[in-house]
């Protein structure tokens, strides 16, 4: 399992307005494209200096493709990254704070200790 790669997906999508929309509209396609083209890009290096070993597990790929923020939390993805990106994608479809409250309520079965987010 690669919490780092989950976080890298959330981070690189969240900071790019076009990718935010693309992930909202076509999650499975965006995840497949991102894993093939972006997962092994080192962010501060030229494209030729690629990493050779990063990939999602099936469970990680599925959680991202289903916009499943609860499973992402349970996998130890960084909750700030997930929340920020999901607010960007879905707050617009709801009334004030409605999405944020529903997002928390979807996790009300979870208790301390939360999954470890260390990468």
């Amino acid at each position: 399992m690669s919490k780092y790669l989950l976080d890298k997906f959330l981070y690189t999508v969240d900071r790019d307005p076009d990718l935010v929309e693309r992930y909202r509209e076509d999650p499975a396609g965006t995840v497949a494209w991102w894993e093939a083209e972006m997962a092994n890009t080192i962010l501060n290096c030229t494209p030729a200096e690629r990493t050779t070993w990063l990939s999602f597990t099936d469970a990680e790929r599925t959680a991202l493709a289903r916009h499943d923020h609860v499973t992402l939390f349970e996998m130890g993805a960084h909750p700030f990254l997930t929340l920020t990106l999901f607010i960007a994608m879905f707050e617009r479809d709801h009334g004030p704070l409605e999405y944020q409250k529903a997002y928390g309520k979807a996790m009300e079965h979870l208790s301390l200790p939360y999954p470890d987010i260390a990468t």
Binding site: Y4, D7, K8, Y11, D14, R15, P17, I42, L43, N44, H69, F73, H78, P79, F80, L81, T82, L83, T84, I87, A88, L97, Q100, K101, Y103, G104, K105, M107, E108, H109, L110, L112, P113, Y114, D116, I117, A118, T119
Partner: protein, 290 residues
């Protein structure tokens, strides 16, 4: 030598800008009280007549990322652009450019290394709302040069709380040993209890009002020993999953000093989180008895 004009610790609530500038039906019912408290807080900095601001905050996965993550970082550059697309998107924060104070940054980097703090540095740093929120609340004209200092309260493994306190003490000594006649305010922002992206987020209050009550008391009374006795990296998970941001308050307690009571204390109980504002005047209240 430089003089510490004020030491200020604050929460950094990214919604303040939007709440305080909104009008009509968009203006939340708590906005007027919030603005009034912020304006009183702002006056505590204004009356200290600072020339330079040392700004302690924490990057929220904007420029600093997991492929190269510093624990403590000092920005040394002539300018700092500020705020990011996702902060504009979610909070409506404006883009800003702040001047840097490179002489003080260089002094802190050299002196910090010599005090066994292996500080990372950045010569091109775009700062985020952990530093721009207190600029907006405390110095909205954004006219003073800054030295940004970032701490890692966000991406574990994190430094121990005692290390934050120790760095705060060192920052105080480093600023006071800067060969300058400038008046320096040291401002740091963090959180009380806070949950982000978990089941306890966006409640009627902060996720742990009892922690918040104790935290405000520790800070207001300068009870560093009492705070360190109760707070650990492990214990901070209990009040809320983003409560490690409290360690930036602990850093500021280190700046202010053991047993130093704050000269200004205010709080505001909001949904989701409690706001808290503290000011110390190490060299006496400006305009008062010295």
């Amino acid at each position: 030598m430089a003089e510490i004009a004020a030491v200020i610790a604050s929460t950094h609530h990214p919604f303040y800008y939007r709440a305080s500038t909104s009008t009509g039906a968009d203006r939340p019912p708590f906005a007027d009280e919030w603005v009034a408290k912020i304006e009183r807080f702002r006056e505590t900095l204004t009356r200290a007549e600072p020339d330079v601001l040392v700004m302690v905050g924490s990057d929220h996965f904007h420029q600093l990322w997991l492929d190269n993550m510093p624990q403590f970082l000092v920005g040394k550059a002539p300018f700092f652009d500020a705020n990011w697309y996702n902060e504009e998107r979610e909070f409506g924060l404006p883009r800003m450019t702040l001047r840097g104070q490179e002489d003080l940054a260089a002094h802190i980097l050299r002196d910090g290394l010599d005090r066994d703090f292996d500080l990372a540095f950045s010569n091109e740093l775009r700062i985020d709302h952990s530093i721009t929120c207190p600029i907006i609340t405390l110095r909205p004209q954004a006219d003073l040069p800054i030295v940004p200092i970032y701490t890692n309260i966000f991406a574990p493994p994190l430094p121990q709380p005692r290390r934050f306190v120790a760095l705060g003490r060192a920052i105080r000594e480093m600023v006071e040993s800067w060969e300058s006649d400038q008046r320096v305010a040291i401002i740091g922002t963090g959180h009380l209890s806070l949950e982000l992206g978990g089941p306890r987020q966006f409640g009627e209050h902060g996720p742990d009002p009892e922690f918040d009550r104790k935290a405000v008391e520790w800070i207001a009374s300068g009870d560093i020993d009492g705070c360190l006795a109760e707070v650990s990296l492990e214990s901070l998970h209990a009040p809320g999953n983003a409560t490690h941001g409290f360690m930036d308050f602990m850093l500021m307690m280190g700046v202010a000093g053991e047993g130093r009571k704050a000269d200004h204390v205010d709080t505001l109980d909001l949904f989701h989180t409690m706001e808290a504002y503290f000011t110390w005047y190490p060299n006496g209240v400006p305009g008062g008895a010295r």
